[in-house]
């Protein structure tokens, strides 16, 4: 049974850190908001469907950017401030501690969606209606968990590589593009489609669009339930890989003792 105290405790701690350190506003708010805004401005006409696309895309970009940057840096942050060994000496597996943070990081990325929504309503005066709000929020919650898992994976993965900052730069926009959240993937070259299909949130985005009332643009239309089923399956694979990576990291740390140094 996972330590729920640890997961909620680290979720809260991450929230406190977020409030205490204004730097996190950059990946979670400033960057995704700018990109979404510029994307909207590129369009000569901004009708309701384009704005809805931007609100959804902005949310996915916010969650993804923050998972990549804040969650990806999570374990390295503990190495930097020297708290990693204090975490590792507790009976809670490190993965559970980081999980709480990863969920917060993905959640706070949604702020961007909210900002774009407000902008759309107030500045562009475009009224947005969701076709099925319940289905929409269910899909959103599952995407959030999927992106949290990816953040968790990246946290461990970035410990193993010196190229973490480069990878962060390289991955941010291309992964967002293949998610189909801003650019329908049927407009992308077909060689890029398999990349989209293996990226869980791509299916979540399709489910979100269906629930919001935007027609699906997926080259493989499987419907709302089908989308969520595939998203679940891919997230389960991510979770298994993440668990294996954390196990490898724990073993390496106890073998070499080098994890505490930064």
């Amino acid at each position: 049974m996972p330590n729920l105290y640890a997961i909620t405790g680290s979720f809260k701690k991450q929230a406190l850190d977020f409030i205490a350190d204004p730097q996190w506003i950059i990946p979670s708010l400033v960057a995704p908001f700018t990109f979404t805004l510029v994307t909207l401005m590129i369009y000569p006409e901004r009708d309701a469907s384009i704005v809805l696309y931007a609100v959804l895309g902005g949310g996915i970009l916010g969650m993804w950017s923050n998972s990549l940057r804040a969650s990806g840096f999570s374990i390295n942050y503990d190495r930097m401030v020297g708290t990693l060994e204090s975490l590792m000496v507790t009976p809670t597996p490190l993965m559970e501690v980081i999980a709480g943070r990863a969920i917060w990081n993905a959640l706070i990325g949604l702020l961007n969606s909210l900002l774009v929504f407000i902008l759309a309503e107030v500045v562009f005066q475009t009224s947005i209606r969701l076709a099925d709000p319940l289905m929409f929020f269910i899909a959103l919650a599952i995407i959030l968990l999927s992106l949290s898992t990816i953040g968790l994976f990246l946290a461990a993965f970035f410990v193993f590589t010196r190229a973490s900052s480069v990878l962060t730069q390289i991955l941010e926009l291309p992964i967002f593009i293949i998610s189909g959240a801003m650019i329908p993937i049927n407009l992308m070259p077909s060689w890029s489609w398999p990349l989209s299909f293996t990226f869980g949130p791509f299916w979540g985005v399709d489910a979100l669009q269906i629930a919001a009332g935007v027609s699906s643009t997926s080259p493989i239309p499987v419907g709302y339930a089908g989308d969520l089923l595939i998203l679940f399956a891919i997230t389960a694979v991510y979770l298994t890989l993440t668990w294996m990576l954390f196990k490898k990291m724990d073993g390496k740390a106890r073998e070499s003792g080098s994890l505490g140094r930064y």
Partner: protein, 267 residues
């Protein structure tokens, strides 16, 4: 003469230290990939968005060129602005401030490498735009293009140095620098014309050097001679010089404030 020699020694030593500490942390090729990917992924994304959006006022070529020049911002504004923060982080800022040398000499010395890197990024990004998005350089006026890159880099460095002086005092000047990384995308006509902005926001575009840089770059690529873009170049030089002056004055002020508040040790 003695003063000049002393300043040159400080500049050389500061740039050497900055170079050595950078490449002790990351191998040069990794650093280079990181530097160019920021600009290139942005270019790819916005070019794609422009083509998806369909009937836009800007061509793919214009967007690619705008993003190529905007790539200079990371080195000249973000990296230069990070200098005091990095010094604080490694605990060396009080030592630097304690030395009988002017702090601005050390910061400028440490910036030199980033300035060179910024210009290199633009050249790489322009090459990428030509190879991947078919931007044509057939008509280009090479002298105008070189002048645009040089003057834009100078003006943006002025911005970076001004912001870096705030970093002596403020805890997170990097936050401010990040705003400038993104502000260019919105206000400077990189991806859509300045005229699409609400009119109350357009004056902001007028004081940002990148607005003139992007405009003159597109003209230079279409074959405009130096004289044709002289107005843009002079405006950028003027803005850059004013920023440098403000930066210099703020540095003195913030150095004093930091000594009062002890904030040079906080990051």
């Amino acid at each position: 003469m003695g003063f000049i020699r002393q300043e040159v020694t400080v500049l050389k030593s500061a740039s050497g230290v900055s170079l050595r500490s950078l490449f002790a942390a990351v191998p040069w090729w990794l650093w280079l990939i990181q530097l160019v990917t920021i600009g290139l992924t942005q270019m790819i994304y916005f070019v794609l968005m422009t083509s998806v959006a369909g009937d836009t006022t800007m061509s793919i070529s214009e967007v690619a060129l705008g993003n190529a020049l905007q790539a200079v911002t990371y080195s000249t504004v973000f990296a230069v602005c990070s200098i005091p923060g990095d010094e604080k982080h490694s605990g060396t800022l009080p030592l630097v401030m304690n030395a009988p040398t002017k702090l601005h000499s050390v910061i400028i010395g440490k910036s030199l490498f980033h300035i060179a890197a910024g210009m290199m990024t633009v050249v790489i990004s322009l090459t990428f735009a030509a190879l991947v998005f078919g931007v044509s350089f057939a008509e280009v006026d090479a002298l105008s293009l070189s002048m645009v890159i040089l003057v834009t880099t100078f003006a943006m460095t002025g911005f970076g140095l001004m912001l870096s002086s705030i970093g002596i005092y403020m805890r997170s000047s990097i936050l401010l620098a990040s705003f400038f990384l993104y502000i260019g995308l919105i206000f400077c006509g990189v991806n859509f014309p300045v005229s699409h902005l609400p009119s109350f926001l357009q004056p902001i575009s007028a004081v940002l050097p990148m607005t003139y840089g992007v405009h003159s770059l597109r003209m230079a690529v279409e074959g405009a001679a130096v004289l044709d873009i002289a107005q843009d170049l002079v405006l950028m030089l003027a803005i850059g010089s004013i920023m440098l002056l403000i930066g210099f004055l703020m540095l003195r002020l913030f150095e004093r404030l930091a000594r009062i508040k002890g904030s040079y040790e906080m990051f």
